[in-house]
Symmetry: C2
């Protein structure tokens, strides 16, 4: 492909334009005119094509120079594709087998050709459908622990981490989306906001007048913007995860940048708690009691696996410059390293709850809602699911330093959910 000026692919132009890429031909078959192409992008930002040939299939993801959800009135750099590519490379190295294999990357065309995951389905869709996936807690606990630990100064050579930090510091616009849409807009009457109205109006007004909540949300934004601790996925919700009963893959890391460990973990857990609160809106075919129990169990297991794997890596792969063994194990003070680990995990825990709280708020009050709630057509029913989620999110954000365990959080979720029933 010699074309260098960016041009968006279409279903029609794709075979002609990508038919010369060896890595693609190898997987799909040589006769590109016989390739079947469909565009399946259902996200907010990009084009996504599934291309099938005589030998196999692949996914072609191409960034557009604007936000797809909004249109060309909201420009967005093509370079996000570059960040996604580099993040996928690092995630594969740090947690092998957890992301799609990459076949080809074209920076100028902002496109990544990657593995077609089949029969994988977006996790969020499965949770809305009430399916209890058996592997996700384990897989996601390991994915977060491994990518977040191994991308930090606990493990990496700090020279490499600093170079990577500088590389990803240019992902300004996508960080900006998070900074605005997650941490700021939901807490005042920003133009792009929307919520289920008028049902939620009184609660929304209450939250936007809640000083403690606003200050905490801004503390979390400060943390997000300044705590360059590790390479984050940056958008780790249940719509960025593809699953089968046997396998879990994490996709779409274009928001990747160096931020706080707790951000990925908090966003991930928040999406399970939202799924939990949304279940009542999906009971047309029967009770979701079992699904609700599964979702809370899943948050507890994710946290437990994350904590366990992070601790294991702390003890076995702490090769970076922080908390160096020369100060602890090498002087016969293994317990010093354990003390530091406890403190660190405690801090991650507190901030995880805080980030989870604001993630819940922005999905109900901000621009980018999620399908868990959005697919509940009856606005009264939807609001009756969203309201307790908002209250739960507020409690997490404001009280994150006083909550001791994930069981306590889940008990609170169950209490709020039960009390909100008509």
């Amino acid at each position: 492909m010699t074309q260098t000026a960016f041009e968006a692919l279409t279903v029609e132009s794709l075979p002609g334009r990508l038919g010369g890429i060896a890595a693609l031909v190898e997987r799909l078959g040589e006769d590109s005119s016989a390739w079947k192409v469909r565009e399946v992008g259902d996200g907010n930002l990009n084009l996504v094509f599934i291309v099938e040939g005589s030998k196999g299939a692949a996914v072609v993801k191409q960034a557009l120079p604007y936000v797809r959800l909004v249109g060309d009135s909201w420009p967005l750099p093509l370079k996000r594709s570059f960040f996604e590519y580099h993040a996928l490379k690092r995630q594969e190295a740090r947690a092998p087998g957890t992301v799609p294999a990459i076949y080809h990357f074209d920076e100028a065309q902002a496109l990544i050709v990657m593995e077609f995951l089949s029969p994988h389905i977006i996790l969020r869709k499965e949770l809305i459908a009430g399916r209890e996936l058996p592997r996700i807690a384990e897989d996601l606990g390991l994915f977060t622990a491994r990518t977040l630990f191994r991308g930090s100064d606990f493990h990496m050579a700090t020279r490499d981490r600093k170079a990577d930090l500088a590389l990803f510091a240019d992902n300004v616009e996508l960080c900006g989306i998070t900074e605005d849409l997650v941490f700021t807009d939901p807490y005042f009457e920003a133009k792009l906001n929307r919520h289920t109205s008028p049902q939620l109006d009184p609660l929304v007004a209450e939250l936007r007048a809640d000083r403690d909540l606003k200050v905490e949300a801004q503390r979390l934004k400060h943390l997000f913007a300044s705590k360059a601790e590790t390479l984050l996925h940056g958008d780790l919700h249940t719509g960025s995860i593809m699953v089968t009963d046997e396998e879990t893959r994490v996709i779409d890391p274009e928001f990747a940048f160096y931020g706080p460990i707790a951000f990925d973990v908090g966003m991930l857990l928040a999406n399970f708690w939202m799924a939990y609160f949304s279940q009542r809106g999906h009971e047309e075919n029967g009770s979701r009691d079992s699904m609700r129990a599964y979702l809370l169990r899943t948050t507890a297991e994710i946290w437990s696996v994350f904590r366990g794997e992070f601790s294991r890596l702390w003890r076995t792969e702490r090769t970076g410059m922080l908390y160096h063994r020369s100060l602890f194990e090498d002087r016969g003070d293994a317990l010093g390293a354990e003390q530091a680990l406890d403190r660190l995990l405690h801090e991650i825990w507190e901030d995880t709850l805080g980030f989870a709280g604001v993630e819940i708020h922005r999905r109900i009050l901000g621009l980018a809602h999620n399908a868990d709630f959005e697919t509940i057509e009856d606005a009264d029913l939807r609001a009756s699911c969203e309201a307790p989620a908002l209250k739960f999110g507020r409690h997490l954000a404001v009280n994150c330093r006083q909550i001791h365990s994930i069981e306590e959080v889940n008990n609170l979720a169950a209490l709020i959910e039960k009390e909100s029933r008509p």
Copy 2:
């Protein structure tokens, strides 16, 4: 100057090599053969020349490709000169009149030609001599508040801050010096360490076995390496400050990078507390009671001025993306912004004490000692000044979250100092 391959200047070669620089000729006079050159670098890293001509004088500071204190066995990139130049530019913009004016910068030769400060004297020398400078508390409180506030996301456009963060992320080796020499080496038997021995041996062994202290020092290192909050000076001790009774200038920001606000403030205060503990070693010409009182008063005033100016800027120049007015003042909730300010200053306060504690330790236990103690020739006397300083540093680092005011800290310093007298 057309020479591009780096070559260290000498007293002899300087006029010939720099005689063609217009900015220099303009200040010194055209006949460069009549320039008087002397090398005055007494720091650990660089060459510093004072050049005087018929019209005036200038300073030429040139980096060497190694650590001057150690020699070419410890290479150090010339690029630190680039970071110093860019830091000086930003400090001048953020706190006008507080740094030397720059006349010329040559990146390839790693040299900065700048204002010759006269009759300014290094602050540390003045404090050792027992001189009570009238302006430093006010000037340094303002310098820290202005440079640290205005280099952060409280004030800057975040795109600019992120670009700057990436620029300074390459200052790896100088950050590495701090990471190793301040936060790690003092707490174990590192090769480069030295201390007044055998007098301090039992106390040093006690500190290196102190688990809480080691864990806290590593927490602070983690903070230093990951909290990319603002552009720091990075080496803000009393040897980086030049004073007269009328004026205070801050020099040598080659350690500049994006780090936590509290680091600069903590290192600065620590150096006054060390001056305090060292006074007993300089009483050959009379009591230093007045000087001791002055030094404690100065720390209290620096903190008070810093806090006051930071608060003023918070209220008047909070134009960045963090704690945006749209969430607070614009909604009639000015008190929300005050609540956030209190919490932020409280966090800065805690970490300031922590950083101060480790800075004191490294100056007595690590590689780079300071003249306050080093100029006390009698080892017993020196150790009797250093020991209480070490204990004070340990108390600050480990108890930084439980100490409420700078008066409390100064009372503690006085108590420890008094109790340590023979």
